[in-house]
Structure formats: C-alpha cells, structure tokens
C-alpha cells in the first residue's frame, strides 16, 4: 500500500528532529503548571515524533520501536493512572479525585499534594493521548493490516 522510498535528506532530518520533539513534548507536559501546556498538548507533540518515524522510514522500523501490544497497553495505562489516583484519594478518606488527601502518603502539605496530584494525572493523560494518536495513525494508513504491510516490505 505504502511504497517504501529511501530519502537520505528526510531520514537524516527526522533522525535529528525526533529526540528534540520528544524532549519538547515532555517539557510541555512538565510546564503545564506554569504556562500553557499539559497532557493533551504534550501527548500530541510526543505522538507526532512517533508518527514521523513511519513517514520518514518504513512502518516496520517504527513498529519495532513501538510495538502494537505496547501501544494498546499504554492506551489503557494512562486512563488507569488517572482513575487510580482518584481511587487512591477515595481510599485515603476523601472524595473521588480529591488530591489534597494524598498528603497522607506524600511528605508535603495538602496544597502541594494537589500540585503533585495534578502532575501525575497530566502524565496519565499524556500517555493515553500519545498511544491513541500513534495507534489511530498506524491503523488508518494501513487500513488495519500491519502484518501484510510488514511482509510486503520484507519481500
């Protein structure tokens, strides 16, 4: 379906660009507390770096870096982290998603516990957004037939 073309310029630029995109995605996540940013935006930037890989190289190489089983695992892991933090607050005697109660297990006061609770759930959002974007992209460009795609590139 997708012809594999070698292009040394695109491949070199992507090889240099991808690490910076990933660091920038993490920066946007970490700076969500003080400036525009957060899990949704950071996750999209992070996913763009993984989407660049099948565009510049071939799908086979991208899938070796980010296997489908791991993608699906990360999709649910982010929601699990978010809901798990909420449930943890419930177990510590607060309301669902009442991060202030996390001060019982963190060595900080309730206000800073809210700060760190928000950081953890933003990380969960980032993981889910990143994995879902990559999963949807790979399934759409191959119409859901990655294995045939991989076999064709081997021939």
């Amino acid at each position: 379906m997708i012809r594999h073309q070698e292009d040394i310029i695109i491949q070199t630029i992507c090889r240099m660009l991808i690490p910076f995109m990933q660091v920038y995605g993490l920066y946007v996540l970490a700076h969500g507390h003080g400036s525009p940013g957060g899990g949704f935006q950071g996750g999209c930037i992070f996913a763009a770096s993984f989407i660049l890989m099948p565009i510049a190289y071939d799908l086979d190489k991208a899938k070796r870096r980010f296997a489908e089983r791991r993608t699906i695992l990360f999709c649910s892991l982010g929601v699990f982290i978010y809901a798990g933090i909420g449930l943890l607050c419930l177990l510590l005697g607060g309301n669902f998603l009442d991060y202030g109660k996390l001060s019982a297990i963190l060595p900080v006061d309730p206000v800073m516990a809210r700060y760190y609770g928000i950081a953890v759930i933003e990380t969960g959002v980032q993981i889910t957004v990143m994995a879902v974007m990559v999963s949807i992209f790979i399934n759409l460009i191959t119409s859901g037939r990655h294995e045939e795609e991989m076999r064709n590139t081997h021939d």
């Binding site: 978010y82 998603l97 991060y99 809210r114 928000i118 759930i121 969960g124 957004v129 999963s135």
Partner: protein, 92 residues
C-alpha cells in the same frame, strides 16, 4: 417549488425567534453577566492558594473539573479502541 418556499419560510421564522432571544443576552464581555458571577471569582481569587498551581487553566482543568478531564481521557481511549475494532485485521 412549494417545498423550497416552505423551507425558506421556516428558516426565516427560526432566525427571527433566535434573534429575539439574542436581545436578552448580556452585552459581550460584561463583567456583571451571570456566567462571570457564579464560580469564576472563586477560581480567580482562590485558585493559587487552594491548588498551588500558578496556571489557572490547569487548576480548573485538572482539579476543579477533574471529572470532566478524566472522561475526556476516557473518550480519547474509546476513540482509539473503536478505530482498532473497526479497522484492525490480523493476517489470514
């Protein structure tokens, strides 16, 4: 022809009703409109002291409206699973 005329008449009637409703809305950017008086002052005045987050948007998004963001994440997860269920075909 008669159907087209009826459609145009209905659209104009609906437009008139909506424009009549717009008359009663508060002016654009009015600080005393009901939407600005309900919970916004609490977020603006106490957001930093209650959550410790300097970015007001993050404080509202992840703390005050935590449920909303949780299920937004769940919606994205559902979209990914739906694409997977519809498109994914393993090799025969």
């Amino acid at each position: 022809m008669k159907k087209k005329f009826l459609g145009v008449a209905l659209a104009i009637a609906a437009l008139m009703i909506l424009l009549h409703g717009v008359e009663d809305l508060p002016p654009w950017g009015d600080p005393d409109q009901p939407a600005s008086l309900h919970v916004s002052p609490r977020y603006i005045e106490k957001g930093l002291t209650e959550t410790g987050v300097p970015n007001m948007v993050t404080a509202v998004l992840a703390d005050y409206r935590g449920y909303d963001t949780l299920f937004e994440t769940a919606v994205i997860f559902t979209a990914g699973v739906a694409v997977l269920m519809i498109l994914r075909r393993s090799a025969p």
